[in-house]
Symmetry: C3
Subunit: 347 residues, 3 copies
C-alpha cells in the first residue's frame, strides 16, 4: 500500500463529504513581513502596529489575503492536487481578524459535483472554512475547481446544481471588533480619498507594474504550504498544456491588490470576496498591472464598504482598462477578474 498521497480525483468526491485538511499553521510577524516582500503590499493597517492601534485594533492584523492563501493552501492536497484549472471563488467572508500568533486550520464540505462531457474531468464545488486556534471561523468561501478523473470510465453522478450568490450582502460583512476610523490619518495612509470620494462606476488605473519571477511565486506558494504540482515542477510541466510552471492564482490576486494601493490606499481591509476568476494563466516573466472599478458602496457604520472589481492585466499596462469584449469574452491580457468588498474610512 502506498503511503504517499496521489490526491483526490473527481470520482473520489461525494456531495456532503467533509474533509479536515492537514497542517495547522501559526502565522507570525514573519508571514506579515514576507507578505510585504513578496507582494509589495503597503496598506498601512497591515504594515504598522501603531497605525492599527490608532484604528482601535490591538496591533496590525494579518493581511486577509494572506489568511485566504494560507487556508486555501491547506485544501490543495485534498481538493485540487489533480486540478486542471481553478475556476472561481464566491461567497467569501472574513469572519474574524487574524493576528500574529494565531494558528489556522481548515475544513471543507463538498457542495456539488458536475462531470464534464469529455469524461476526463469534472467540476468540484466546496465550501471551505478557516478556523483559528479557538475554533472560531475566520474565513469562509465557496470554490469550484476542475479536477481530473483517475479513470475516464469511472461512473459519476452529478449533484444538484450549486449556484453561489453573486455578491455577499453588505449586512453579512464583518468589521474587526474595535475598528474605529475616527482618528484615521489619511496622510500616513498615503491618500486623501475617503469613502465619500469614490463614485460607483469610477475606474482607477493603478499605474505601476510588477514583473514576476519563478523564485518569487514559488516562495509565496510554499509559504502558503500550497503543494499544487503545476506551480513547482518545471519538468512535469514541460508535458503540460503550457509547457511551463503556472503561477498560483492567489499570487496574482495579492500582487494586483498590492498594486491597487496606488488609488485605493485607504481601502484597507478586505471584508468579502464576491467572486474571483483566473481567466488567463500567469507565468514567470510576465508583468502584471491592475485597475479597479467601484461597483457598489455601502455604509457599514464604523466604516464605508466599497465593492470593487479588481482586474489584473499582463504584459500591457492597464491605462485602457482592458476587460471584456462586447461579446462578453475576456481580453486575452486579463488574468484576473476579482470582485471584493473593502472597508474604507469615512470622513
Amino acid at each position: 500500500m502506498t503511503k504517499s498521497n496521489p490526491g483526490n480525483f473527481f470520482e473520489d468526491f461525494a456531495p456532503g463529504q467533509r474533509i479536515a485538511h492537514a497542517t495547522p499553521r501559526t502565522l507570525s510577524e514573519a508571514d506579515a513581513a514576507l507578505n510585504i516582500a513578496l507582494t509589495g503590499a503597503r496598506h498601512a493597517l497591515f504594515s504598522a502596529d501603531s497605525f492599527a492601534q490608532d484604528c482601535g485594533l490591538p496591533g496590525a492584523p494579518i493581511d486577509p489575503l494572506l489568511v485566504f492563501h494560507t487556508v486555501f493552501g491547506k485544501t490543495v492536497p485534498d481538493i485540487s492536487l489533480n486540478a486542471v484549472a481553478n475556476l472561481g471563488y464566491a461567497e467569501g467572508r472574513f469572519l474574524a481578524p487574524v493576528y500574529p500568533g494565531d494558528t489556522l486550520s481548515a475544513a471543507s464540505e463538498v457542495l456539488g459535483l458536475k462531470a464534464n462531457s469529455n469524461g476526463k474531468t469534472g467540476v468540484v464545488t466546496v465550501r471551505t472554512t478557516g478556523f483559528n486556534q479557538d475554533d472560531e471561523p475566520v474565513l469562509s468561501y465557496v470554490r469550484w475547481v476542475m479536477v481530473n478523473k483517475r479513470d475516464a470510465n469511472a461512473a459519476t453522478t452529478d449533484s444538484p446544481p450549486v449556484t453561489p450568490k453573486n455578491v455577499v450582502p453588505a449586512s453579512e460583512l464583518m468589521l474587526p471588533p474595535g475598528l474605529d476610523f475616527s482618528n484615521y490619518d489619511f496622510a500616513l495612509a498615503g491618500s486623501p480619498h475617503a469613502f465619500e470620494d469614490y463614485e460607483i462606476g469610477e475606474k482607477i488605473d493603478h499605474v505601476d507594474g510588477m514583473t514576476v519571477e519563478e523564485a518569487e511565486h514559488q516562495l509565496a506558494t510554499r509559504l502558503y504550504q500550497n503543494t499544487a504540482k503545476v506551480h513547482f515542477d518545471a519538468l512535469a510541466q514541460k508535458e503540460s498544456r503550457f509547457g511551463k510552471r503556472l503561477i498560483y492564482g492567489g499570487v496574482a490576486i495579492s500582487l494586483a491588490r498590492a498594486l491597487s494601493f496606488n488609488g485605493l490606499a485607504n481601502a484597507q481591509l478586505m471584508l468579502g470576496v464576491n467572486g474571483g476568476r483566473h481567466v488567463n494563466p500567469l507565468f514567470a516573466g510576465d508583468t502584471l498591472y491592475a485597475w479597479s472599478e467601484v461597483l457598489a458602496k455601502e455604509d457599514l457604520g464604523a466604516a464605508g464598504a466599497l465593492r470593487l472589481r479588481l482586474v489584473a492585466v499582463k504584459n500591457q499596462n492597464a491605462a485602457a482598462f482592458p476587460f471584456k469584449s462586447d461579446a462578453g469574452e475576456y481580453d486575452p491580457a486579463v488574468v484576473l477578474d476579482f470582485d471584493y468588498w473593502a472597508a474604507i474610512p469615512k470622513r
Copy 2:
C-alpha cells in the same frame, strides 16, 4: 597584513585543533517561516504552536534541519571556504530542541587529516557541535570535506584514519523533553500512518517535484550565513569544473525532506543523522524528486523511531527508486543519499 579571511587550506589544519566559529545567531519565528517558504516544509510539529503544544512541547520548535544548516553555516569560513567537495556527514545527533529566541553558536574539533595523492587537496574530518545561549549542546555531527591546499608543495602528515560509526545507536537518540504523542492528531498531521504501519524495506515514492531557482538557494544559504563561494559567485564559478553556481547540499537535504512529507507526514522530528552524501551536484533549474526506504525501526517509548534512507533524485521522478547500480555506483540522477532517524508517533 590582510584583514580579510582567505579561509583555511588543507595544510592549515592540525589534528585535535579546536575552532570556535563566528557569528552567533538568534533564530526566530522568522527563520521558521522562511524555512517553510524556502523548502515547502509541512510537518505539523514545526508549523503550528498549537499542534506542538498538543504534543507536550512549549511551542513549535525550530526544524532540526534548520538548526543543522545554521550550525553548519558557521563552520564554513573556518572549515570549508576552500572546499572542493562536501563529502559526507555521520554521527549526527540532535541533543536538545531549539525554540524561537534561542541563539546558536558552533565549535569544531579536527578529528582527522588525509592528503590526496594528487598533492592538491586533502580530506579534513571534523566534529562540530552547536550550542544554545546556555552553552548546552543542541547538535553534534562529524563531517568530512575535501579542501584545497594553498601550496601543492606544502608538507602534510596524515592523522590516524578516522572511521565514524555507520549508524547512531537508538539508545543515543534524544527526544525533546516533554514530547508526548498520546493525543496526536493524525488527520491534522496529514497522514493516518503510524510507527506500526511502516515496514523495514518499505520504499516510498514522495511523488512531488520541486524545481530550484538561483534566488531560492542563495536566499536559503545566506539565511544560514553559509559563505561558501561556490554557491554565490557566478563569475568565479565560470572557471570551475561545473561552470556555474553549485547549490548548497543542505538545500537538497531540506527540499528532499520537505518532499518526503508526502508519505512520511508523521515522521515529525529528525533525531539523528547516520550518514549523508552529496553524490551528484545540484544546480539551479534542476527539478528535485525524492524517495525513502525504511532501514530500521526502534521503539523509543514516547515515540517510535524510523531509520530512513532519503534519496534525492534530479530531473527524473523517483517512481523507479533510482539508487545504485549492481556495481555499487550511484545512478547519475541521484543527488543525495541521506540516512537519518526520525521520531514518529505510535498508535
Copy 3:
C-alpha cells in the same frame, strides 16, 4: 479626477516644502532575518540577541542599513517615483537604535532645486528624517536625485545652491545608549582586528563575490516598500536607457556592506553616512565584489569610529581596488562609492 499617484515631477517641488511620507512600518525579527537572507549580513551585533546583550544593548538592534532602506523607501512615492537617477546622499546620521517592534515613519524637507539645461530634468535635494513610534528621530540624511519634469516647458526657479557637508563630524555621531564593548568577544565576532589595528589609508579586499538575481533585489526592494518603477517593471524598462530593470542602489550598499564583513567583521555599527554615490548601474546577473579603504579614525570613548570608503565593483573581483582614473573618472566596474562611519571596539 485620478486617484492614483503619478508621483511628483520636478516642477511640483518647492524649496522649504515639507512632505509627510506614507505607510508607517513596524520592523520585526522577520525583517532582521530577511535582511540576512537577502544580503548575507553576518555582523554579530545584528545576528544574536546574546551577543548584543553582552555589548550592553537590550537585544540585537535592526541593522542601520535596513532602517535606512525602510525610511528611504517611504520617500519614493513622493520624491523619486519619476527619478532618472539617484545621485547621492550625505549628512547621514543614525540618531537612535531601532529594535524589533519599533515602527518607522518618515518626513522630508525640500532643501534645493536645480533645473538641468536640457529642460527635461532637474535635481531635487531633500533632507529626510525617519522617526520611531515615539516621534524620536532615528535617522536623518540629505539626498539629491534627478527627477523628470512633467512638462519640459514648465517654468522653474532654482533655489540657492545646497552644499551638504563632505563628512559628518565625529562629534555628531551617536552611539546606541548602553553600548559597552569592554567584554567584546572577538572570536565570536569573527575577527581579531580592533580599532587600533586599522590604519588610515589601509585598503581591504573583501574577497567574496555575490551574483544578484531579479527575484532577490525585487524581494528586498519590496520589503523596504520602495515602489520605484525602474526596479520592478521589466516591460516598461524595455523602453528605458538600459532596456531592463535596474537594481535599487540600496541593495548594492547592503550587499557590499555584507561582503565587507570579510575584513571588517568588527566594524559593527554604521553610525553615519558621509556620502554615497551610485556611479554605475547594477543589473540582475551581475556579480558584486567590494573593497574598503580606511579614510579616518576617531576615538568616541565607548568605541572607536572608522571612516570607511566602501567601493562596490561589478563583474570583476576587487583585488586591484578599482576606483577612479587619474582624471578622476570612475572605473566602469565601480558601482558604488560609499563613505561612512562605523563603530568598532577598541582593545
